[in-house]
């Protein structure tokens, strides 16, 4: 398998970033990891994951859509779309890589979201296999193997080398572009690392969590469950779960008055918010109970109903560690399953 020694990572990053924009997860001063555009000297984070997910690359928090200029009764409409530059995201975990497949099901079906597609077309996703899953991880619940991540090109580490395998044409082009730095090598050590990770996966506290009792056919049973009151009673109605979630995909479209024109933009929205899907008569979900229920019903029932059984969660565990009141999809699943 093609590989490169760990101590040559800087020259690898330099070679990639010479040809196109490269983003890697790196540690901030406060210790948390975030994706940043690579500059010489930047160190790859050894954290399991970033606080913000990798969905930001394809579905940024805010994005301008169109501009209007007004002169008297004349309105000029300016299409501000531009071709996105080519870029590589390095070090995406298997959970986040799967989230792109889920977002594609929303944004790449007719009518195709040209803003999202533009970024997808120009982005190469290079994933990184996990070796130290955390107690909050439950990607295997959704059939994700963190030791064999998807993405255009998968990368593994055994502590001495990074190993590369292309999963797509784009991934092959990526491997070809760095071929001069790579060498063939045996995978004996890597196989041991993978076996060890798999053994840990079996011992994760959430390893038995199953989607068996969820899906599109559970609508009435769960929508009318009497558990929602208790589950949502201490929900703060903030958007933390939504905004750190790699699969949450809802947005609002708003106009910004610049004085001599209008900038129309979209920004992430959260079903937890009181003005989500606000219509002429107000928010159809009157209390936090309905808003809370919406988020979990969407991931566990509505999304699979509309997408051949695929769930709207990848088990990355961000909501488990970031919710201010520690309420999350795992607790919801377990409570709903209790008869």
């Amino acid at each position: 398998m093609l590989r490169i020694s760990l101590d040559k990572i800087d020259s690898l990053f330099a070679a990639i970033s010479e040809k196109q924009a490269l983003y890697i997860p790196t540690d901030r001063a406060d210790g948390a990891a975030e994706y940043k555009r690579y500059e010489a000297g930047m160190k790859l984070s050894d954290k399991l994951n970033t606080v913000r997910s990798a969905k930001d690359f394809f579905f940024p928090q805010t994005e301008n859509l169109v501009e209007f200029k007004m002169e008297g009764k004349k309105i000029e409409v300016n299409d501000i779309r531009q071709e996105c530059e080519d870029f590589v995201i390095f070090g995406v975990r298997a959970c986040d890589a799967r989230s792109f497949t889920i977002l594609d099901k929303v944004y790449l079906v007719e009518p195709v979201d040209s803003f999202y597609k533009n970024r997808r077309d120009h982005g190469t996703v290079v994933t990184m296999a996990c070796t130290r899953p955390a107690e909050t991880c439950f990607c295997q619940t959704f059939g994700i193997d963190p030791t064999a991540p998807e993405g255009d090109c998968a990368v593994w580490s055994d502590g001495s080398y990074y190993y590369f395998k292309a999963n797509s044409d784009k991934g092959q082009a990526f491997v070809d572009s760095i071929a001069s730095l790579l060498e063939e090598g045996d995978t004996a050590e890597l196989d041991k690392t993978i076996a060890k990770t798999k053994e840990i996966m079996g011992r994760l506290p959430l390893s038995k969590l199953s989607t068996e009792n969820f899906g599109g056919d559970k609508l009435n049973e769960y929508f009318n469950s009497d558990k929602w009151g208790e589950l949502s009673e201490s929900c703060l109605g903030c958007g933390t779960c939504t905004f750190v979630c790699p699969t949450c995909q809802c947005y609002d479209i708003k106009d910004f008055n610049t004085g001599d024109g209008i900038k129309r933009f979209r920004c992430w929205d959260s079903c937890m918010y009181s003005d989500f899907t606000k219509m002429a008569h107000g928010n159809p979900r009157l209390t936090q109970l309905e808003r809370f229920r919406q988020r979990f019903m969407h991931k566990l029932v509505y999304f699979p109903a509309n997408n051949n059984g695929e769930f709207g969660c990848v088990g990355c565990g961000r909501c488990l560690s970031k919710c201010p009141i520690s309420m999350n999809i795992v607790k919801v699943m377990k409570a709903l399953e209790e008869k």
Binding site: T62, R132, E135, I200, R203, S234, G239, C267, D275, K278
Partner: protein, 323 residues
């Protein structure tokens, strides 16, 4: 302590003094505790928890719970009692419908500080003589208790319960805290250094509103930032100006009412030290209007809610002269 709390709650439920209990509910792991309302002895016995991770200030839930029928029992740590007093003073909580049991305060633990040491796969956390024994999927780890203390507890201002109906454990004193040290450091920076400090911090903001929604001083029925008719409503900061202004305006709005409970910084998913903005206001109020602690009582007038002849800024009272 947990046992004594459960027993007392069960008694008060059984004799009809209260109909509900606000406390903390056990989670999936050692640390993921959820504030909860308990209605029966069975619920209390199976789920009620009070330990090193029960840091959440549950006083804000009383806005909703004290408006319901029947008394609600709440367990408050010293810092949380300041929040309740302030909410009572602002007529946001009906104190008559609340039965307060004062319980000992922290220091509580910050799981993020444990994880920041590279400790992962955490299965249990035990405090043995102020050494944390952490059982993980990757073997046992240890670290000093003192290195995992929540920031808000590390600069604790008071061990005294300012309101309660009964206590479990001893009451404490108001402490000499070091809570203004970092504010002083910021004051001593040049304007540019300070600006850079705050830009680095506030640029991390994802506008999740967790700081606002957890804040016991933020109890507006409809926040101006959520109200499309306000003209300033926004769901995402479109530029650095909006990023800064959301937090600065919020700090202004709670100035003189913020008790410094520290929840804003505790819940921030991006580790922004938001409490420093509030502490700057508290420090300024102390210096300009005399020592004042929001939530210390329910009757005194707040410095920013009244005018006096000796106010630092020229006021109507000043122009009119002392009667």
């Amino acid at each position: 302590m947990q046992e004594a709390m459960i027993n007392r709650a069960k008694q008060l439920l059984a004799d009809g003094t209260v109909s509900r209990v606000i406390g903390w509910k056990r989670g999936e792991f050692a640390y993921d505790i959820t504030p909860a309302v308990f209605e029966s002895a069975e619920e209390l016995e199976s789920d009620f928890v009070f330990d090193d991770f029960t840091a959440a200030n549950v006083s804000k839930y009383l806005v909703k719970e004290s408006a319901k029928e029947g008394k609600v029992l709440v367990f408050l740590k010293p810092c949380d009692t300041y929040s309740l007093n302030q909410l009572t003073k602002e007529h946001r909580v009906n104190r008559d419908n609340v039965y307060v049991i004062g319980i000992p305060g922290g220091p509580k633990l910050d799981i993020e500080k444990i994880k920041a040491k590279g400790i992962t796969g955490i299965l249990s956390v035990k405090n043995e003589n102020y050494t944390l024994k952490i059982e993980t999927l990757y073997g046992e780890e240890t670290m000093p208790f003192s290195e995992a203390i929540l920031d808000k507890c590390a600069s604790c201002k008071s061990k005294k319960h300012v309101t309660y109906d009964e206590l479990i454990g001893e009451d404490g004193d108001i402490l000499e805290s070091n809570r203004f040290d970092m504010v002083e450091q910021l004051e001593n920076m040049t304007a540019e250094e300070r600006y850079n400090f705050w830009r680095e911090q506030l640029s991390k903001c994802i506008r999740c509103n967790a700081c606002r929604n957890v804040c016991p001083a933020c109890t507006c029925e409809k926040c101006v930032f959520d109200n499309p008719s306000s003209g300033v409503e926004n769901k995402a900061a479109s530029d650095s100006f909006e990023e800064n202004m959301f937090h600065i305006i919020r700090a202004f709005h709670v100035a003189g009412r913020c008790t410094d409970c520290g929840e804003c910084s505790r819940v921030c998913p991006q580790n922004i030290p938001l409490h420093l903005l509030n502490r700057k206001f508290i420090k300024d109020i102390n210096e300009l209007y005399g020592e004042y602690q929001a939530g210390e009582d329910t009757t005194s007038k707040a410095p920013l809610n009244r005018y006096t002849f000796y106010d630092c800024e020229a006021s109507i009272v000043h122009e009119r002269g002392v009667e």
